[in-house]
C-alpha cells in the first residue's frame, strides 16, 4: 500500500519535469511598470502565430528594476529578453550582458533601421554595436496654456529661446507676484538636459572620459535655465512640493511645463472639460529656432545568456510591427519609435501628439557611458545650487567637471589598458 502511494507520488513528480509537447519553448520576458500590466494583452496573438513559443511575463516595478537586473546578472538568472530603459543600455553593454542584434536586423523583414527616429535608434548603438530595438519613445517638450499665452499677446508658441523669453516675461507680468510663467521642478534633470543637448558642444569630451560642462555650450544652457528662476518666471520648487501639477496648471499657476508623452493622457483626464481647449503641446524652443530634446524611452534587448535567443527575437519583431505598436500606444499612451506607426489615423489625428512627432526628428541621445545616470544627477545638483544662488556658474561648472572627471577615472584606465594591449 505504502509502496504504491510512494510510486504514485514519484510519478506525479516526474510528470512535472517532462515538457508536454517536446518542441515548445518558453521564453522569459521581464517588463517594467505600466507596460508590464498591458503587454500581456498583446501576447495571445503572438502565441497564436507561434504555437511553439510560450511567453512568461514578469513585471518589475521601475524603482526596483535596476537593482533586480544587476542582481540577476550577478546571479546568472537573467531572462531571455527584457524591456530596458535606453539610458541603461550602455551599462549592460559594459557588463557584456546584451546580445548584439545587427545580424538579426539585417535579416529581418519587419525591423528596418531607417524607419526609426535616428536619435532614438542611436541610443542603442554603443561603439558601433547594436544592442537593443526601441520599443517606445519618451522625449520632453512644452505643454502650455494657450489662453495665458494669448492673453500675454502671442498667438503661437515660441520657437526660439529669444521668443520664449519674451513670452515668459509677458506671462509673468500678467500673472503678478503669485503666478509664474513656467514650472521647472528642481529635482528633474530632463529640462536642463534638453537645453544642454541643444548646444553644439558635447557634454563629455576625450572619448567620453572627461566632463565638458565648463564648455560655453553647457554654460549657455545653464545660464538660460538659471535666468528663468532669477527673473522669477519659475518657482524655486522641487516636484514633491507641488502636490498636484495638473490642478496647478489648470489654476494657471504657470503657463509652460516641460514634460513627456504620458502627460497627454493625464491632462486629458484630469483637466476639466471647459479647460480642454486651453492647453496644447509644442516642440521645445532652441537657441535659434526649434531645438533638440532628450532621446528617452525603453528598448527591447536580448541577453547573451538567453536560452532561446531566436524565439526572443521573434517576440521583438512582433512587438515592433507598426500595427502592434499602434495597439500598444492605444493601451499605454506610449509613443511609437517608428515613422510608419505614426501614419496610422489614431496617432496622426491626435492633435496633442503631433508636436512629439516633430520633436522626435530632433532628439539627441545623452552621452552613452554607464556612469551617465550619476553624472546627470550631479549636473542637476549643480544646477540647483546655481538656481538657489549658492555658487556662480563658472565656479559651479568647473567643480562639476572635476567631480565628473573623478567618476570617469576607471573608464580612462580601462580605455588606456585596452589601447596598450
Amino acid at each position: 500500500m505504502m509502496l504504491r502511494w510512494l510510486l504514485g507520488a514519484l510519478l506525479v513528480l516526474l510528470s512535472g519535469c517532462v515538457p508536454s509537447p517536446s518542441d515548445r519553448q518558453t521564453i522569459r520576458f521581464w517588463v517594467m511598470g505600466r507596460e508590464g500590466e498591458v503587454v500581456a494583452r498583446l501576447l495571445p496573438e503572438f502565441e497564436r502565430r507561434n504555437p511553439d513559443i510560450r511567453v512568461r511575463v514578469q513585471q518589475l516595478p521601475w524603482t526596483a528594476a535596476h537593482e533586480k537586473l544587476l542582481t540577476a546578472y550577478a546571479g546568472d538568472s537573467l531572462p531571455d529578453l527584457c524591456q530596458l530603459g535606453n539610458t541603461w543600455v550602455p551599462e549592460f553593454a559594459a557588463l557584456r550582458a546584451l546580445a548584439e542584434l545587427k545580424p538579426e536586423v539585417a535579416a529581418s523583414r519587419v525591423i528596418a533601421a531607417e524607419d526609426y527616429f535616428p536619435g532614438i535608434w542611436s541610443t542603442n548603438v554603443i561603439d558601433g554595436r547594436l544592442y537593443g530595438i526601441p520599443w517606445y519613445v519618451d522625449t520632453r517638450l512644452l505643454f502650455y496654456r494657450r489662453d495665458l499665452v494669448r492673453d500675454a499677446g502671442f498667438d503661437a508658441p515660441p520657437r526660439s529661446w529669444e521668443e520664449w523669453e519674451r513670452v515668459m516675461a509677458a506671462v509673468k507680468e500678467n500673472a503678478g507676484p503669485a503666478g509664474y510663467a513656467i514650472l521647472l521642478p528642481l529635482n528633474e534633470f530632463e529640462p536642463l538636459l534638453a537645453l544642454a543637448l541643444q548646444q553644439d558642444e558635447p557634454l563629455l569630451r576625450d572619448d567620453a572620459t572627461r566632463g565638458a560642462f565648463a564648455s560655453p555650450g553647457f554654460r549657455r544652457a545653464l545660464d538660460f535655465y538659471a535666468r528663468m528662476f532669477r527673473n522669477d518666471w519659475a518657482p524655486t520648487m522641487a516636484g514633491a512640493q507641488i502636490s498636484n501639477v495638473w490642478a496647478e496648471f489648470e489654476r494657471g499657476l504657470f503657463a509652460f511645463y516641460i514634460s513627456g508623452p504620458w502627460n497627454i493622457e493625464e491632462f486629458k483626464r484630469r483637466l476639466r472639460p471647459e479647460h480642454q481647449r486651453d492647453w496644447m503641446t509644442a516642440p521645445l524652443p532652441g537657441p535659434k529656432g526649434p531645438g533638440a530634446s532628450t532621446a528617452g524611452g525603453a528598448s527591447l534587448v536580448v541577453f547573451r545568456s538567453a536560452r532561446h535567443p531566436q524565439a526572443a527575437w521573434r517576440l521583438i519583431e512582433y512587438l515592433s510591427e507598426p500595427a502592434v505598436q499602434v495597439q500598444f500606444h492605444q493601451l499605454t499612451g506610449n509613443l511609437p519609435p517608428r515613422r510608419t506607426a505614426w501614419r496610422d489615423r489614431r496617432l496622426a489625428d491626435n492633435e496633442y501628439a503631433w508636436a512629439f512627432r516633430e520633436q522626435l526628428e530632433r532628439v539627441r541621445p545623452a552621452p552613452k557611458v554607464p556612469e551617465w545616470e550619476r553624472i546627470v544627477g550631479e549636473m542637476q545638483m549643480t544646477a540647483e545650487q546655481v538656481v538657489r544662488g549658492r555658487v556662480g556658474i563658472d565656479q559651479a561648472t568647473q567643480a562639476l567637471d572635476r567631480r565628473v572627471d573623478a567618476m570617469l577615472e576607471k573608464r580612462r584606465w580601462l580605455l588606456a589598458r585596452g589601447k596598450s594591449q
Binding site: 550577478a74 520648487m237 502636490s243 545638483m381 538657489r388 549658492r390 576607471k410
Partner: protein, 290 residues
Amino acid sequence: MNAPPFAWVFVGPALLVIGVFFLLPVAAALGLSLTDFDIYALADLDNLRFVGLDNYLRMLQTPLFWQALGNTLYFVVVGVPLSIAVSLGAALLLHSRLARFRSFFRTALFAPVVTSLVAVAVVWRYLFHTRYGMVNHVLDQLGVQPIDWLGDPHWAMPTIILFAAWKNFGYNMVIFLANLQAIPEELYEAARIDGASWFRQLLHVTLPMLGPTLLLVGILTTAGYFQLFAEPYVMTQGGPLHSTVSMLYFMYEEGFKWWNFGVASAVALLLFGLIFAVTWLLLRLSGRGA
C-alpha cells in the same frame, strides 16, 4: 579558556551562526573596501583593482561624504537628547499619580513605534506640506509665514528629527516607565519629609536612580540614530540639496544605486568605527561620573 571540550558543542552552533552571518560578511566588506569593485569589475574580475586605502582617502575628499557625516552628527546631537527627553517626559507624566487612563495613553504613545514607518511618513508628508499641510495651516492662524518644511534645506533636517523623535520615543518611554515603577516609594517619602520640591526630587532621586537605564537608553538610541536611513529615504530621498543625506543613505546610494561596492564598504566600516568610538566614549564618560 579552560572550558572542557564538550562546551564547544554547546557554543558551536552560535559561533557558527555568528561566523557565517557576521564575521565573514564583515571580513568580506573589509576586503571589498580595499578594492574598486564596481560594475566593470562585475563584468570581468580582471577589471578589479586593489586600491589600498584609496577608497577611504578619496571619500575624505568627497564633499558629499562630509556633508553626510555632518548631517548624521546633526541628527544624532539634536535628535538623541530630544528623543530621550521626550521619552523621559512622557514616562514621568504616565507615572504621575495624577495621570488618568494610563493604559490608554501608554498604548497611544507607544503606537508610533509599532506602526509602519513608510505609512506614517506619508502622513507626515501631508502634515508638513507647504501649501495644504496642517502644520502650516496652524502656523498661518498664528500669523507665521508658511514654512517649506521638507523642501527648504534648512528645515528638512529639523523636520526629519521631529519625525524620528516622535516615531521612536515610545520605545524608550516604556523602558523608563518600567524603571520608574521600580524606584522605592520610601525614597520619595524621605525626600518629601525633608521638604524637597518636585523638581529637587526629580534631580536627586529620580535621575540618579535612573542612571544605568539612562546610559543604556543613551547608547541604544545613539547607535540607532547613527544609522539614520529610512526616514530620509521615504520622505526626502536625501534632498533638498543633500541636506538629509545620512551616512547610511550615502552608503546605500554608492552601493546599490551606483554599484560602487568598494566605496560603500568603506563607508560602512567607517560608520561602524564611528558608532564603536562614540559608544566607548559614552561608557567611559559614564564610568567616570559614577
